[in-house]
Structure formats: structure tokens, C-alpha cells
Amino acid sequence: MYLTRREILTSFLGAPLALAACKQNTAPKFPVGEIVGADVSLGHILRENRGFEVPAGNWETVKVVIIGGGIAGLSAGWKFASEDFSDFVILELEREIGGTSQSGTGNPVSYPWGAHYLPVPFQENVELIELLDEMELTDGRIQGSGDLLIKEQYLCREPEERVFYKGRWYDGLYLSVGSSEEEKRQYAEFQEQVDYWVNWRDSSGRRAFVVPLANCSSEAEATDLDKITFAEWMRQRGFTSERLLWYCDYACRDDYGLKLDQTSAWAGLFYFCSRVRKSGEESQAFITFPEGNGRFVNHLAEKVKANIRKSHAAVSVVPNANGVDVICLNGNEVKGFHCEKVIFASPMFTAPYLIRGFNETPPFAASEFQHNAWFVANLFLKDRPKPRFVKDFPLAWDNVLYESPSLGYVNATHQKGIDYGPTIWTYYYPMCAEENGRTKLFNYEWKDLADVCLTDIARAHPEIYELCERIDIMRWGHAMISPRPNFIWSGIREKAMQPYRNIHFAHTDLSGIALFEEAFYHGLRAADEVVS
């Protein structure tokens, strides 16, 4: 199917902007770049259900095979390493580990390809804090309360966010400028609703929303929220303020890659409530680095580097009487591992394709684990745009375009205090506007997506064509699990968390939301199960 530039821009950014962009007769200077990252064809080998013969000399024996080198798999490996257990391998399909927390190395700083921050954990999240201590990110504890202190240079530097609306940048994410009285009232009431759930405790004292999600209350008052969409929940409470609805929609797109009317109300409130200790307090601060969560990937990988096998695509997981055989493709070579246990840290929808016998008696409904697609672009800028007004709000860490279906861009040099000269911007676009977002995404070439990205950013920075020297783009076909209604509290996750014939599942999918903390939690949980 051939689409014109205007059609492509319209489908990504809407008709008015596409029309305006196509009106310019002179073709603006266009940067170079390429599509980088995962080889899609590898993933598709899985679906072909081919048979693989392992040559006799290509078998190894290890105690544990971890399938998947994202945060969950690396965390399981990290846990093993910290217990001085080393008889395991981590098989990673791609050339690079880290999954959606991958990062790239650049000048003047490194930059993320996906996840780029971690909210400071509550003091109860002991194992995560252990990791942060080990990474020397902490500065002890606050005397008295015992809350975690993070070193200043790792806490997201102010200004954290700004939003571009009708030609100007404003401080913060919620657009408060020019609010009517009614809009102010609704915003305040929304905050009250959030406060209600922040303070809410069930009969056994559990919070409704907390990280990791395993510690959330399972009582109906809270979990019933999972039965409706966040949009419906807002409607029921009479929230009609456009800017409030935008704010909540942005939150859903940002954290889940879903729109307001696709997200479960439970998941929507989780975003607002799970990081607030008590009502009236600020949300937990963000820990961030130029390379985003790539910093965690690199730390975890350093501990288990001898165990990592990159470009090893697991193609068959065969449970048997002795344990499990795992067969994988390394280039054109077929390799096999005899092991006692497998930690399956790959997205859950891949289980039926990989695990032999899964489809005969499915232990859980793998097709319920649905993912959404994204594309992420890194723009290499030779300099940053000059402010258009003297009093325009300056470049922040996260820069959001109110009128855009994208999530805006994150400035990689921000956290290093580099405020002048070259920088790298990471632009995020979730394909949530239509049902077949994944197919649509892979229909487009680098040039089309780069055009979308530049046209979108040019709303706020017309000089982007001059400043941007290179754009690399990564397409994520299965970027995040989608917490749509009736998924998180439907009982599917609990079933999938049960081991299946020496295969232990560990992936952020099992929480129904894609978060570093959840992946870490499931990695450690599976490692504990395997050891005990």
C-alpha cells in the first residue's frame, strides 16, 4: 500500500498539522539515520514452528536457563550472582541485552531507547533498595522516618517537565494556565479522589495501589476499578475538563501506551496513587540518568556478564523427565542446553510458541497478555533551539506537546547539568490510536517515521531541521503489556505465575503493567522459587 506524505503525516499527527507541513514547498534539510535494534525476522521464526536439530557436540548442561535478557531475566541472574550461584545462562534473542531498557552510547552523553526513570522506592521495597545501595545511588536513610535518600545528582533535576500549548511552553505537565473556575474545581476534586485512594487501606492494612503490585489489596472495592475504563471512571465522576482529561490520557499513554478509553481505571489510578506515600505529599521523586534505565541494565549485566549469551534466540523449550531442554539459534548454529529449571523471562505471549506441549493443555491464557507497539527516535542535535520568547519556560527533562499524539521528548544531557551545545533528544510515540498499530508501524520506513517525528517536534521548534543531524529509530512491536480492563484482576496473572513443569515465569507482563520494579520483582521471585 503506497501512501502519500500527507496521508502518512495525517495518520500519525492529524490532518491540520499534516496539511500545514505539506504546504511548505521547499523541502527542509533532512537528517540522516536508520532503523536500529531488533531483527523482526528472528521473532517470526518462532511462529513458523520449525523443527530444530541440535548437533551432538552443541549440547551444554547447566542448572538453570534464563530465557530473556531484559530487566526480569537480568534481575534473576543478579539474584543468583548475589547468592554465589553461577551455574546458569541468560539467553538473549537480540544483539543487545536490556529489552525495553536498552540504551545507546553517544556524545556528549548516552541516551535511552525506552524506559528512562525509576521512582524512588518506598522503604518497604527492601530488595530494590539493596540494588540501589549496591549501585551507590543512595546517601543513607532519612533519620527518623527511615526513608531512602538518593544522591542529588541522580534525582531528576528541575525543571522536570514542561508542556507546549498554543505556541508556548509552560511549567509542569498539567496545563494550569488559563484554567476556568470549573476546571480548577475539577482538578482539585480529582486530587481528592487520588488522596482517597492514597489513604485507603483494606481490612488487612494493605494499600490499594503500591509497587510492587503484588502487595496491592485484592479486595473488591479496589479491584472492581479494573472492570471499567479510566475514561468511564472519569465520566461517572463528572470530570469533563478537557485539560484534566488530557492529563489523564497523557498519563495512560506515557505509562501504558494506551489511551484513556483503553486503560483500566485501576491501572489509571495506580499511576497517580502508587507513588504517593500519604495524601498531600509529593509523588516520589524520579531517579534518572542520561541513558535512562540503561544504567540498571549495565549494572545488572556487569554482575552476570559471564552468563550472558547474546544473539541466542530460544526456539524450543522442551520439558522432560530430567528437567528441561532449551534449544536456541545462535546465528545459523543450533545449540542446546540440558537444565533442571527454566526461568522464562520473555514476554508471556511467546510461551505457546516456545514451550512444547503448552497448547495441548494450556496452563494459562497466553493470548490474554496483549502488548502495544511504539516507536522511539533518538535525535542527535548539534545545538539546542533558542527560546522563542524571553519568558518562555526553558528546556526541561521531559518536554510534552499538548496537541500531539506523541509523548514529546526527553533531553539526555539534562541530568548531567549540560545546558549548552550538542544534545540528544529521545522522542516517544505509542501506536495506540488504532487497533492494528503494530502492523501499521512495520509498514513504514525510516524516512516516514523520521518525517513524523520532525514534523511533530517542529510545532515547537521550527529550527529542528537545522539542528538535528541524525535520527535513529527503534520500532517496538511488543513494547509493553496493555493493562486494559478485566485483565490485571481477572485471575489470569495468578495462573501464569504458577510454575509449569520446571518452567518458572518471570516477566513484568505478570503484573499487567510494564515497570522496572515489577520486572525486578518477578525476576527475584522466580530466582527464589528456583533455588528453593
Binding site: 542529588e152 545528582q153 533535576r157 528541575e158 525543571p159 526553558p394 547539568g417 545546558d419
Partner: protein, 506 residues
């Protein structure tokens, strides 16, 4: 029509214009290149010499004298009229400025030198030689007197340099146009073309006169009380140097950094308390910010100092302080001192990335924290990074904005330093250009504030008697009663205090 008296009027106007251009060039060059005696002397010398060449060259004009006279008038009108705006636009390029300036003076001088001989030749048929010489030269000198009185008393204060220049260009062009009627019988050809040219020049100058504000580097003349002698946007900021009655002043992004009239108060208070608190023989000194080189000047007074490392963001600023004679004179050529090393970098990033032998004394002289990029230079993180570059007994002074105008901002910086582990002695001094100004003297160990400035150092402001009083805060500038936030990277509390407090005065 009897045209001779009218032609004499022309002589007066021509003479006035000629001297005005000369005065303009001399004034502008003394602003930019400093040393007004040399500049006036050079400009007058070159101008008179060029006039001589012009007079001598007049012999080569044989035919169409009247027509040539009009053409020359028009040329003077254009060159002289646009001289000041053109020189203003050249300020930003110091290396070219001399060439443009002296080239222009020479050309104008030569053309002006042609005017009177030609006019005398035109008039010679109508008067005795004796009469002609006496009248023309007398009127020429009267015009000069008029110009030299008008220039300082009326033109510069009322019109400014650019408008003065353009106004006299118009007068010159007016003379030319008028001459096409007065000398009509003598002009054999091209009369219409000459008139069109004359009109065109007047219109051009008139447009420039009306638009003079935007001509002089972009409407800044209106913003500053004094004349701009340098204006350039570097990669980081807009740098403007002005010259007024009280002296030179430096502005960064429109904010006053110093005025030469009282900057010694600011810089003596910035530098010497740190040396007094350090004690004997400081050797290695770090300066963060302070690209104007004025803190360097004070530091270099200490014979024991072996190394001064200056880290300033903007090569445009440090380069200017070295190259612009007015600034170099003020900082006593500090940048030429072999003890000084300059690094152009953002101090925050530099401190984070650089390994260096620690320093005995550090002087921190950043612009006020009026944006986030500057605010980070006043955070606990910044001071913790600075600590790693200091010897255990090092002393530092930090400029901390005005405790009178921005009381919370001032004490926020003090509290932030204390949180970062420094013992702090807040102090303040009066700098009329700024008002009451605040500083922090700090060390990594507990210490007593020094009681007098270091001995044997030439000082204009500090003395043994008044030194101690800088550490006393009157009630309106002392620590406020309410809670003061600590300035951290992740809250930038200071930028918000500063915004609130200074906005009251905008």
C-alpha cells in the same frame, strides 16, 4: 537671484558637518579602544591630513566643477551620515574596528578637504580673491565653532551619536540638493540625475534617522542609559559594554555585571576576605565565573599566588576582557599574566569531569541565579563538587545576590552552603551600582571571620577599620524568621525565590 550669500551659508553648513564627523569618530573610537587622548589625537591628525590630501587633489578636477561639487557633497552625506551607525555595527568585531574606523575617517577627511577649494573656485568669478579667502575661511572656522559647541551640549545628550551622524548627513545632502539650484547655470549636464541622487540620499538618511533605534544593534540603545560601545551575542549570552559619564559598564543578557565607577568595591569584597581567611602564602587559586577578569586583577596582587585557574562558560566574554582595551585596562591586563590559565566550560560540568590538584582559595562569581542553568551553580551538588577541588584549609568567597532585595535568595545560598558542609560567614558590602550586596565567606573547617584585610595589598575600598563591619547584618537583611529551603538540583528552590523577589522590581 544673488547666490553668493547663500553659497556662504553653504560654507558654514559644510564646515559644521565636517567637524561633527570628526568628533563622532573620535568619540566612538575612544569608547571602544579606550585612551581618549590618543584616540582624539589620532583621529584629528588623520582627518586633517586626509583633508590636506583632498585639497591638494582638488587641482585634478578641471571640468564640471559645480557638478563634481554636488557629487562630493552627496558622497560626504552618505559616508559621514552613516559613519556612526556603521561603526556601531562594527563594534562587535574588534579586530576590524580599527580598519573601518581609520579608513572611514580618511575618506571623509579627503572628501571634506575637496569641498572648500572647489567652492572657492566656483565663487572666484564673483569676488575678489582677497575678499573670497577672508570670507570663506572665516565662515569655515565659525562653522567649526558651532559644531564643537553643539556636539557636547546638545547633539550627544539629545540625539545620541547615531541620530547626530544621520542628521548631519541629511544637512550635507541638503546642501548638495540646494546647490543644484544655486549653481544651475554652471551645471551643464545631468541636472536631473543629480537632483534625483540628492533626493535619494536624503530619503535614505531620513529612513535611517527614523529607524535609528533598530539600527543601533537592535534597539538596545533604548534599553541602556549610556552609549553602547560593544554588543554581540555569543553562543551563550548577549554581551553589551556601555560607556557613560560614570565609566564603563558590562551587561550580560541585559543584567548589569559591573560599572567601572564602583566595581572595585564589589571585587575587593569578593576576593580579599577569602585571602584574609586563608592566611599565609596562598598558591593555587580557582575562579569560577568572573570572565571580566576583575577578580583576577585583585587575586594577582598577591605575590605568593603561583597559579590562577579561571573557568568561565563563555569564550566570548573572556576573549573580550582580554581584547577590548577598555576592559583590559580595567582588569590590568590580567589575562596576559603568565600565572593565569583560562578554561571555557560550564563550571558545573567542569567540576564533575576534571581531576586537579586542589586549590587554596576559590572565588565563585557567577551571574545571579535568574534561570535554571545558573541555579544549578548554587546547589548542594555544586558545592559538594567544589569541595572535592579544595584543600582542607581552603577559603572561598561566593557572590550571593542582594540580601536587601532578595533576602530569601541570599539566605537560601548561605543555608545551602552550610548543608553542603561548609562553615559560612555571611557578609555584605555596599556597591552603589548594585545596592547592598551579599557574599559568603566559607571554609571546610570551623573558623573565625577575619578582622582585617591582608596587609601589604593595595586597596581602595577595604580598610582595617571597616572590614569587620561587613560581617554585621542590619535587621532588614539578616536571616528571615521563616523557614528557608535548601537549593538542590531536584528542587531549584533558589531560582523560584529569586524570581519572586526580583520580579517586584521589574
Amino acid at each position: 537671484m544673488k547666490r553668493t550669500p547663500l553659497l556662504f551659508l553653504n560654507v558654514i553648513i559644510i564646515a559644521t558637518c565636517g567637524l561633527i564627523y570628526e568628533l563622532l569618530a573620535a568619540t566612538l573610537s575612544s569608547y571602544v579602544l579606550g585612551d581618549s587622548v590618543t584616540q582624539f589625537s589620532l583621529v584629528i591628525g588623520i582627518y586633517l591630513f586626509a583633508m590636506g590630501i583632498g585639497s591638494w587633489a582638488s587641482r585634478f578636477i578641471d571640468k564640471h566643477v559645480a557638478e563634481k561639487f554636488v557629487d562630493i557633497e552627496l558622497a560626504v552625506a552618505v559616508l559621514g551620515g552613516f559613519s556612526a551607525p556603521l561603526l556601531f555595527l562594527t563594534f562587535a568585531n574588534i579586530s576590524y574596528f580599527g580598519i573601518v574606523l581609520y579608513g572611514m575617517i580618511f575618506l571623509i577627511g579627503m572628501l571634506v578637504g575637496l569641498e572648500i577649494p572647489l567652492l572657492m573656485r566656483i565663487l572666484k568669478d564673483e569676488l575678489d580673491f582677497k575678499d573670497l579667502v577672508s570670507k570663506v575661511l572665516a565662515l569655515d572656522y565659525i562653522g567649526a565653532l558651532a559644531a564643537s559647541l553643539l556636539f557636547p551640549l546638545f547633539l550627544v545628550p539629545k540625539l545620541g551619536l547615531n541620530r547626530t551622524s544621520l542628521l548631519f548627513g541629511m544637512l550635507n545632502a541638503g546642501v548638495a540638493l540646494w546647490a543644484t539650484w544655486l549653481l544651475e547655470p554652471l551645471i551643464k549636464r545631468n541636472l536631473t540625475i543629480l537632483r534625483i541622487k540628492g533626493f535619494a540620499v536624503i530619503v535614505l538618511l531620513l529612513i535611517a534617522f527614523i529607524k535609528a533605534d533598530s539600527l543601533t544593534t537592535l534597539a538596545e540603545d533604548g534599553l541602556f542609559m549610556d552609549n553602547i560601545i560593544y554588543a554581540k551575542s555569543s553562543a551563550y549570552q548577549r554581551i553589551v559594554v556601555t560607556k557613560g559619564k560614570t565609566g564603563y559598564a558590562l551587561f550580560l543578557n541585559g543584567n548589569l555585571q559591573f560599572n567601572s565607577f564602583d566595581e572595585y568595591r564589589y571585587h575587593e569584597a569578593l576576593v580579599h576576605p577569602a585571602f584574609a581567611a586563608y592566611g599565609e602564602n596562598p598558591k593555587r587559586v580557582l575562579v569560577l565565573g568572573g570572565g571580566d577578569g576583575l577578580a583576577l586583577r585583585e587575586i594577582l596582587k598577591y605575590k605568593s599566588v603561583e597559579n590562577v585557574m579561571l573557568v568561565d562558560l563563555d569564550p566570548g566574554m573572556t576573549g573580550l576582557s582580554k581584547a577590548l582595551p577598555a576592559l583590559a585596562e580595567l582588569n590590568r591586563n590580567a589575562y596576559d599574566d603568565p600565572r593565569v590559565t583560562v578554561t571555557n566550560a560550564d563550571a558545573f560540568v567542569w567540576l564533575d569531569n576534571t581531576e586537579l590538584e586542589p586549590f587554596d582559595v576559590a572565588i565563585v562569581d557567577f551571574p545571579d541565579p535568574n534561570n535554571f542553568a545558573l541555579g544549578k551553580l548554587y546547589t548542594t551538588r555544586f558545592y559538594n563538587l567544589l569541595k572535592t577541588k579544595l584543600k582542607p584549609d581552603a577559603a572561598i568567597v561566593i557572590q550571593c545576590t542582594s540580601p536587601l532585595i532578595a533576602r530569601n535568595s541570599y539566605w537560601c545560598i548561605i543555608k545551602t552552603l552550610e548543608t553542603a558542609g561548609f562553615t559560612v560567614k555571611p557578609f555584605q558590602a555596599t556597591v552603589p551600582s548594585f545596592g547592598v550586596w551579599g557574599y559568603a565567606l566559607a571554609k571546610l573547617q570551623p573558623f573565625e571571620a577575619p578582622s582585617k584585610p591582608p596587609a601589604g595589598i593595595e586597596l581602595k575600598f577595604l580598610n582595617d577599620k571597616s572590614f569587620v563591619s561587613m560581617f554585621d547584618f542590619p535587621s532588614d537583611t539578616s536571616l528571615p524568621a521563616g523557614e528557608i529551603e535548601i537549593n538542590r538540583l531536584d528542587n531549584q528552590a533558589l531560582v523560584r525565590y529569586y524570581e519572586l523577589e526580583w520580579r517586584r522590581f521589574e
